[in-house]
Amino acid sequence: MNKNENDFLEIIDDNQKIIHNVCRIYTDTTNSHHDLFQEILLQLWKGYHNFKGDAKVSTWIYRVSLYTAITYIKKVMKERKLNEEVLVESTYEQKDEDTYEELLQGAIEKLNDNEKALIALYLDDKSYKEMSSILGISESNVGARINRLKNKLKEMFNERKDGY
């Protein structure tokens, strides 16, 4: 392994929490989490040579991770998800009651890809400015979207809680 690869893997090791945060929002099983992690790692490596350090490392990793999750991984995981659906459903039925966090997590899973990106950044306590830089949309738009998302999640959460 050459120095370049070592430096890269060092960065990944230090920042793997970011990648796991994105994987957690976009996937619902350990296997697909691992798949997405692999895919993001590859995309980061592809872009590593072009990374000049103009942006913060964490911003760059977020951009690549979310971009990968939004644009590529859906296709890759579609087949896998179908195979796992039966198992996940049977596990779900065995529970008498979901916890608060599980209900909320379930509502997040129903969001679209762009909404998930916002939630991932929000849950990681990113400022509106950073979110705006990562997503490429205006700060005011970020704020409005976050509020709208909170309301949407609240409705979805209540529906799930009431058993709809």
Binding site: M1, E5, F8, L9, I12, D13, Q16, K17, H20, N21, C23, R24, H33, F37, Q38, E39, L41, L42, W45, K46, G47, N50, F51, K52, G53, D54, A55, W60, R63, V64, L66, Y67, I70, T71, Y100, E101, L104, Q105, I108, N112, D113, N114, A117, I119, Y122, L123, D125, I134, L135, G136, I137, N141, A144, R145, R148, K150, L153, K154, F157, N158
Partner: protein, 189 residues
């Protein structure tokens, strides 16, 4: 309901060791080296085979010498490979160190759209010209081309339909997805 409660959940429960990261990295890059972008490879093969068939037809009819036909095929194959390489680089090198996600997706969508328009504008006239050349060689001059003008027109229409169909089949879903992502990101409140 308070979404902020999710922040309190432990996200450190999944953490790979350095050795695991190294293994994932080696496995993934190895796989990546073995596989290029399959769709664009299909694209390349389709264009290559079609061109080779068209030129070969003129050869089998005995209109051109073996050397000339081989040369034409080699030149076209070379152009297609360069074109494929440039397209692959343009579509896969997304600069995310300087740009946010929306500009990156927009750029990729525009590039892909550009290629599709280019194919739709350039390929039908190209195939029609090949038909003109075929007619010219077969009937020994422009008279043959003008008398059978509907062959050229038919080639133009048919290639237009086929190119549109193939572009839609190969890139249609990706284009729709990019457009819907951009629409949703553009959706100001």
């Amino acid at each position: 309901m308070d979404i902020d409660k999710l922040k309190e959940l432990k996200t450190d429960s999944i953490k790979y060791s350095r050795t695991e990261i190294n293994q994932i990295f080696e496995l993934r890059t190895e796989r990546s080296l073995k596989s290029t972008n399959r769709k664009m490879l299909i694209d390349l093969l389709l264009m290559g085979i079609t061109t080779a068939i068209l030129i070969s037809i003129t050869f089998f009819i005995g209109l051109q010498s073996r050397l000339l036909v081989s040369g034409q095929i080699a030149i076209i194959a070379g152009i297609l490979i360069i074109h494929y390489r440039i397209k692959y680089m343009l579509l896969n090198n997304v600069d995310l160190s300087n740009n946010g996600i929306k500009p990156a997706i927009t750029k990729i969508k525009n590039r892909l759209e550009g290629y599709i328009v280019f194919y739709q504008i350039a390929l039908p006239p190209l195939f029609s010209l090949l038909m003109v050349k075929f007619q010219f060689d077969t009937y020994g001059g422009w008279n043959g081309v003008f008398n059978k003008w509907y062959y050229v027109a038919g080639t133009f229409v048919l290639s237009l339909v086929v190119v549109r169909f193939l572009c839609n089949k190969i890139y249609g879903k990706d284009m729709d997805r990019f457009k819907s992502l951009i629409d949703s990101l553009n959706n100001e409140v």
